[in-house]
């Protein structure tokens, strides 16, 4: 009886140790694979956007490390991107992290200016000395998907009345409803733009933002787990996270077309 109990206990202990080892090993494996993501993404960007220069003189090698030169290259890339946008028949967004603004433009005319209260940028995008990153940002990013806490078009359905007796005149719309505004704009180049509303005083706003953020993290983790289970490095998405006043965030989201374009200056 006693030996049976001891056996059971030791079996339980072994199972516990084994399980702990397996979980720890998986977490380590997952972390290592995930950490490989940014490097892989950088390689992909380099492969796609890096321009091969034949001039490998000493001066050229030194110039591409010069901060003033890189600053100018960045500015030129941003202007090139803005002009491309101005010539398109669409509403676009210009995010200028250098002066903390997000502007909506139509045919080169800035129609709305919003001030960013906070922003965070992925380390990859901060690599301003990487010519591949510069040339990637020299062309606008195109929105491929978006996830938001608000509707793109707040359509209200109404059935037509059969006759005049059924007709009810319009009632005044309730404009006091303030829904939380948080969204993610996923672009064709894999860059994600996270837009969060600045107002967080109300508990509802905080809960909504937490839920939204958690949901996006869960989705990312799920797809990363699937990749890792298939022994693949999970996709890494360079990001720009910005915080704006609620009204500005809403205006931008509603104004941008579903496949809208974005120019970024970091």
């Amino acid at each position: 009886m006693e030996t049976e109990v001891t056996k059971k206990k030791s079996r339980r202990k072994t199972t516990f140790i084994l399980l702990s080892c397996v979980i720890s090993a998986f977490v380590i494996y997952y972390s290592v694979m995930s950490m490989k993501g940014p490097a892989q993404k950088l390689e992909e960007i380099k492969k796609e956007f890096e321009t091969k220069t034949t001039d490998k003189s000493d001066i050229n090698r030194r110039i591409i490390k010069d901060s003033a030169y890189l600053r100018l290259l960045k500015e030129r890339a941003f202007l090139q991107s803005s002009i491309v946008l101005a010539e398109t028949d669409s509403i676009y967004l210009i995010i200028n992290l250098a002066d903390s603004t997000a502007n909506i433009g139509i045919f080169g005319v800035v129609v709305h200016k919003a001030k960013l209260s906070e922003f965070q940028i992925s380390k990859i995008l901060k690599m301003s000395n990487e010519s591949a990153i510069l040339s990637m940002l020299a062309t606008p990013l195109t929105i491929s998907h978006s996830f938001a806490t608000i509707k793109k078009e707040p359509v209200i359905f109404q059935m037509a009345p059969k006759d005049t007796s059924e007709y009810k005149p319009d009632i005044m719309p309730d404009t006091t409803i303030t829904e939380p505004v948080n969204y993610i704009l996923e672009t064709d180049k894999g860059v994600r733009i996270y837009v969060y509303q600045e107002e967080n005083a109300k508990i509802d706003d905080r809960i909504s933002q937490f839920k939204f953020d958690l949901n996006s993290r869960l989705n990312d983790t799920w797809s990363a787990l699937k990749s890792v289970a298939a022994f693949k490095v999970p996709d890494y998405h360079p990001f720009i996270k910005i915080k704006l006043p609620r009204t500005d965030a809403k205006i931008i989201y509603r104004a941008l077309p579903r496949s809208g374009q974005i120019a970024v200056f970091s």
Binding site: V27, Y30, S31, S34, M35, G37, P38, A39, L42, I59, N60, R62, I63, K65, D66, Y69, L70, L72, E75, R76, L79, Q80, S82, I83, A86, D89, S90, I91, I106, F107, G108, V109, V111, K123, M127, S128, N129, E130, P154, I156, F157, Q158, M159, A160, P161, K162, T164, Y167, D170, T175, R217, D220, T221, A224, T247, K250, I251, R254, A255, P257
Partner: protein
Amino acid sequence: MLWTNKLSEMEDEKIINEGTQPEIEKSTGGVYPENDRSIDMHDTTLWEKFRARKVLFGIARFLFISICTIVVVFSLILFILYGVPVLKEFAPKQTKEIADNKDLKKDQDYKKKIGLITKDIQRLSLKYNTYTPGQSYIVVNTTENRFYLYKNKQLIREGSCSTGSYKKLQTAGGKTWTFKTPRGKFTIENKRTHPAWHRPDWSFIEEGEPIPPKDSPLRWEARVLGDYAMDLGDSYMIHGTIYKRFLGMPVTHGCVRLNDEDLEFVFNTLNIGSKVYIF
């Protein structure tokens, strides 16, 4: 410490009980002799105490293990959800260092390259600035229902307006209309004073009225568009309204409504060909 003390206490009691209980059972076949009743009573209480403690200890151990498991699982989830994304940001290393070399700045090749890029930037800036019209134009924000009037690139007037309600009207036959203000760049195609409204089909359907023929005089309605109207094409207009209390709200069928004073000012400022930017 407390746990260890309790454990050792319980171990002692276990040894006592293990030492005494089976012997009694062996000698009496499970029945206690009469004269040993007081000792037996004492032993039974101890045994019960021990059993009660054993159960308590079991519960405590179960709770402890459960809490530990929950904490560990929760920490792992937190690490995967929040820790790993942070770790990712530490991963890539800057492959090149940014330098601010003073000798380099004296180099002729360097100066030439910088000059070329600076010229490029100036050219591109000039080009970008030409996109903003020098003449008057109006900007309409459909989310906030506000308008901004510009002249010589300066804001000269702003105020409330009403834009599309986003109402989707559906007939029993399945025909639908969505009342939204189109977004983008438009041009003032025509300017009219004392405009009359030619009611489209949806206007009759919306009110449950029979639809008259296209050329019917029943379709014409005066004074509902205010004193002025500016056509933007596709039957969309900037006009006045009799529903002034709705200004600043999304209530229209797609047109932009202004109050009388703003409408007059806008009408006098914008010309045929002036640009209208709606977003």
